[in-house]
């Protein structure tokens, strides 16, 4: 190939032709481009309103309730996730009763979860627990559709998450739910305040407003003063506090926590569990907490679902699982537990159903006590700190003589911490006949242990 032959300086004729062609092209393209651009722009604006607003999404849905009349925040029905191509075949085999391994051998599909159903009540801390590979993280990710389930339903406030289109799903994720991650998932290029404000930022909240909110939640998790630091400056425990603050900052109704404390040292983990309990007693979120640590599950969970090979083996409160394991698998699991550590006040306490507030009037107090048929009742102040206990006789007297609730409150009530062994609690119960309040370090009321529970524990004999 001769180089010389091909080297041509651009000649004027080409330039001229180019100019005339371009002129013609510009005119025709302008009209071609403008119209679609305009319609694309208007589509863009429309899509940012998402056709309907967030409030509209839940306007015509009905909040399901369970038999006791408690509101169900999250309802999972027959949820399955099969990984791999052609999951239908695998589902059929599972329906025939094949195990996870057999299905994998015959179809090379992996069973993530199969036919899982449960309800999570509003304000409940629901623990999903199992060994690694049992499908607990997959299940959690199906609930906010980070993983698209193969079949089944996830119903949040009456809205089926699995069938939402992208835009509506995005809106639900922005406002209704958020997630705390095992390895914290902090954005390394953002300082703490901007990490916490991330959820608000993607919603389009103004900068001053979102930083203000972020500051509030950073304070709540006890990290005030670290707003301008970067994640790399923080220790593991502090990082997860940021993760928690970020998840709370969008004020979601549902919090998904995926092995949130598993990457932390035992001491820090315990601190974080306490912190979560404290925050939970203030905010009462619906929390789905995934863990492989039974001690953690027993400590935190209002109810626990034990998973194995992608199925739920047993659902129940901590005592149920400890006392009546559903099968060999669960009982083997439970046997590993350090009983002296596990059988603490925290496990046996119940959420106090009826409590009085120091600000309430005497007559109100009396009516509440009569309605709930109680002789004694716990009293807390505005911040949910335990003030003491009142007896109905005293209240009745005070109503006649005219006084306030504070006057008749007995402040010197026996109280226990969450990690007090049940042994000690029962010893206390011998001397009193009242429910024993369980408090946090700052005197916040977390729950009560009723005499009936103590009787049950005693009835079991030498277990403790």
């Amino acid at each position: 190939m001769g180089l010389n032959k091909s080297v041509k300086r651009p000649i004027k004729a080409i330039d001229d032709r180019f100019n005339s062609i371009m002129k013609a092209k510009m005119c025709s393209t302008r009209s071609k481009v403008e119209k679609p651009l305009r319609s694309a722009l208007s589509n863009f604006h429309a899509s940012h309103n998402y056709g309907k607003s967030y409030d509209d999404i839940f306007a015509d849905t009905e909040f399901p309730t369970d038999d006791n009349g408690d509101r169900i925040a999250l309802r999972v029905r027959n949820l399955s996730k099969i990984f791999g191509k052609h999951p239908e075949g695998a589902i059929k085999l599972l329906e025939k009763g094949m195990s996870k391994e057999e299905v994998h051998r015959t179809t090379s599909n992996d069973v993530g979860i199969y036919d899982v159903s449960f309800d999570v009540r509003e304000g409940e801390l629901f623990v999903l627990m199992g060994l690694s590979g049992s499908g607990k993280s997959t299940l959690e990710r199906c609930m906010n559709r980070l993983i698209q389930p193969t079949s089944g339903q996830v119903i949040v406030d009456g809205l089926d998450i699995t069938s939402l289109d992208e835009d509506v799903l995005r809106m639900v994720r922005r406002k209704k739910m958020s997630m705390v991650f095992q390895n914290f998932g902090l954005l390394p290029h953002r300082d703490i305040k901007n990490n916490v404000a991330y959820g608000l930022e993607v919603q389009g909240v103004s900068e001053t407003e979102r930083l203000q909110t972020a500051k509030k939640y950073i304070e709540m998790v006890g990290l005030s003063g670290y707003e301008d630091n970067y994640p790399s400056d923080l220790s593991g425990g502090m990082k997860q506090r940021v993760g928690l603050a970020r998840a709370l900052a969008t004020d979601p109704d549902i919090l998904f926590m995926d092995e949130a404390f598993s990457a932390l040292d035992p001491m820090i983990r315990s601190d974080m569990q306490d912190e979560l309990q404290k925050i939970q007693s203030e905010l009462r979120k619906t929390i789905v907490f995934v863990t492989h640590d039974l001690n953690e599950a027993l400590k935190l969970g209002d109810r626990i679902a034990l998973m194995r090979d992608g199925r739920i083996v047993q659902i129940g409160v901590a005592e149920d699982i400890l006392r009546n394991p559903a099968d060999d698998y669960v009982s083997r699991f439970v046997r590993e537990v350090d009983r002296t550590k596990v059988l603490t006040a925290g496990v046996f306490m119940r959420r106090p159903r009826n409590i009085l507030y120091t600000s309430q009037g005497l007559r109100t107090a009396l009516r509440i006590m009569e309605e709930s048929d109680r002789n004694t009742m716990l009293v807390v102040d505005k911040k949910n700190h335990l003030a003491g206990m009142v007896e109905s006789d005293d209240v009745l007297k005070a109503v006649k003589s005219g006084g306030v609730l504070e006057d008749v409150t007995i402040c010197d009530v026996p109280r226990v911490k969450i990690d007090t062994p049940m042994k000690d609690v029962i010893q206390m119960m011998v001397t009193t006949n009242f429910p024993i309040p369980v408090i946090a370090d700052d005197n916040t009321l977390l729950g009560v242990i009723s005499p009936s529970v103590a009787a049950e524990v005693l009835g079991e004999g030498g277990d403790i």
Partner: protein, 273 residues
């Protein structure tokens, strides 16, 4: 004799020239524009003022004093040897071609990171561009764009693009799964996920690509002297043809000094991020 492969290539070139000549001219005009603007500054500025400005900029980037002093000294040395005008032409070409290469390569890298369909195609193209000997790019550049600075810049852009594309792609793909889940779980749009999570997290990798891109641009710009690119490369080609050791060494040294300065500056810029 030439085999059918070569004949086909020649036919293709002729075809493109005949029917897409206007497009090639458009490219040329577009590229001429930044070269002209930056050239007007670099060719006319007083060397001492340039060195002073360079000193201030490098202090701002490096945030120490020693490196900026050495950087300024390097440019003063080039001036003292008498290669200032050539150096400015070379610098103009390097900066413009690196800029154009980066502007084209980053979107390509993002595209290949986010599309499983585009990725193998872009990857193969980058393999091709990177392994093709640098000299070969000069042939189509000359055929389509003639002699001069612009074809040199075009050959350089093609030569310097692959590392940015690759490292942008790699950087975004290496953003860990959890980070992407964070973006999704808070309801980010795809665009928000890209701009607020993936690109910032991939920034170290992208900056390494940009550093490589500038280095490759410099080496290619010297080679483009063979098609009339001018600058220090021209001095080297001239020295080569006359076996002038003194001039060849001086011009070569000037290239090395510019390379070191650009490398330090881009690396420092990466570290401050």
């Amino acid at each position: 004799m030439v085999s059918p492969v070569g004949v086909f290539a020649e036919d293709l070139v002729n075809f493109i020239e005949k029917y897409f000549g206007w497009l090639l001219n458009l490219f040329k005009d577009i590229l001429n524009w930044p070269l002209d603007i930056l050239g007007r500054v670099l060719y006319n500025i007083d060397p001492m003022i340039f060195i002073a400005v360079l000193f201030i900029i490098s202090v701002l980037i490096v945030k120490r004093l020693i490196a900026p002093i050495l950087i300024s000294a390097a440019f003063y040395f080039i001036y003292w040897m008498g290669y200032w005008d050539s150096a400015m032409i070379t610098l103009n070409m390097v900066l413009v071609s690196a800029l154009v290469a980066i502007l084209m390569a980053i979107p390509l890298g993002i595209w290949s990171a986010r599309s499983e369909r585009a990725n193998p195609v872009i990857k193969a193209l980058m393999d091709f561009m990177q392994t093709m000997p640098a000299f070969v790019y000069l042939i189509p550049a000359v055929i389509f764009f003639g002699l001069g600075i612009v074809p040199g810049v075009i050959a350089t852009v093609i030569f310097a693009m692959p590392p940015v594309v690759r490292l942008t792609n790699l950087g975004i793909r290496q953003v860990n799964k959890e980070m992407n889940e964070v973006a999704d779980s808070f309801g980010s749009t795809e665009f928000q996920k890209l701009t607020k999570v993936q690109i910032p997290a991939a920034m170290p990798s992208i900056m390494a690509g940009i550093n490589q891109c500038i280095m490759l641009s410099l080496s290619m710009v010297v080679i483009t002297a063979m098609i009339g690119g001018g600058g220090l490369g021209q001095d080297i080609v001239y020295a080569l043809s006359r076996v002038d050791v003194a001039m060849g060494f001086e011009a070569g040294l000037a290239v090395v000094l510019i390379a070191v300065v650009l490398d330090r500056l881009t690396q420092a810029f990466r570290d401050t991020k």
